[in-house]
Symmetry: C2
Subunit: 106 residues, 2 copies
C-alpha cells in the first residue's frame, strides 16, 4: 500500500463502489494499470468485485479493512511498547508516557 497510485485507487473506492473505467478516468495512468492495482487489492482482501453486465463494480471490503487495521495496530503497539519499556528502563519514570502526542480518533 505504499504506492501513491494504489492509494489513490483505494481512496476512490472508499467513496463508494466504482467501475474500473471510472477509476482510471481522473488518474494519470492507463486502465490496465488500474486493473493491476485492483488485482493486488483484491488479493489482499481489501476489495471485492461484483459483476454488473460488462462492467465490474469494485468496493471496499470492511472485513479486510478491519484486518489491515488490526495488523497495523499490532505492529504499532508492539514497537511502541518496547520503546516505552526501554525509555522507562533508562530514565526514571518522571513522565510515564514519553511524548506520544495524538491519540487516534474514532
Amino acid at each position: 500500500m505504499g504506492d501513491g497510485t494504489r492509494r489513490a485507487v483505494f481512496e476512490r473506492l472508499a467513496q463508494g463502489p466504482r467501475a474500473v473505467g471510472d477509476i482510471a478516468d481522473g488518474l494519470p495512468v492507463s486502465r490496465p494499470a488500474v486493473s493491476q492495482h485492483l488485482r493486488v487489492l483484491r488479493d489482499a482482501g481489501l476489495v471485492v468485485v461484483t459483476k454488473d453486465g460488462t462492467r465490474r463494480l469494485y468496493e471496499v471490503d470492511p472485513g479486510g479493512l478491519g484486518a489491515l487495521r488490526r495488523y497495523l495496530d499490532g505492529f504499532w503497539t508492539e514497537s511502541l511498547a518496547a520503546f516505552k519499556a526501554a525509555a522507562e528502563a533508562t530514565a526514571p519514570p518522571a513522565t510515564p508516557n514519553p511524548t506520544i502526542p495524538t491519540e487516534p480518533p474514532s
Copy 2:
C-alpha cells in the same frame, strides 16, 4: 517503511539505543546495509544519532514517531470517513457503524 529489514532495524532500536554493529549482528544483512537503512530512518526523522567514542548510538526519536503516527492516522481516518459516508448513503443507517472492529489501544 514497507521493507522487512528496515522494520527489523527499527524494532531493534525500539528496544533501546544500539550501535550499528550490534544491530547488524543477528540480522542477515551486512553492516553497510544497516547503515543505509539507518540513514533513511534518520532522514525521515524517526531516529537520532549520538557519538560515543568510535561508535554511533542510534535511538528512536519520539517526535518523529509522533509525526508518523499523525500521518498514518490522517490517512486512515480520511479514507474511513469517506467509506463510512458512502456506506451510510447507500444503505439506510440500520447499523450506523459499518463493521470496523478493533479500536486502537493506548
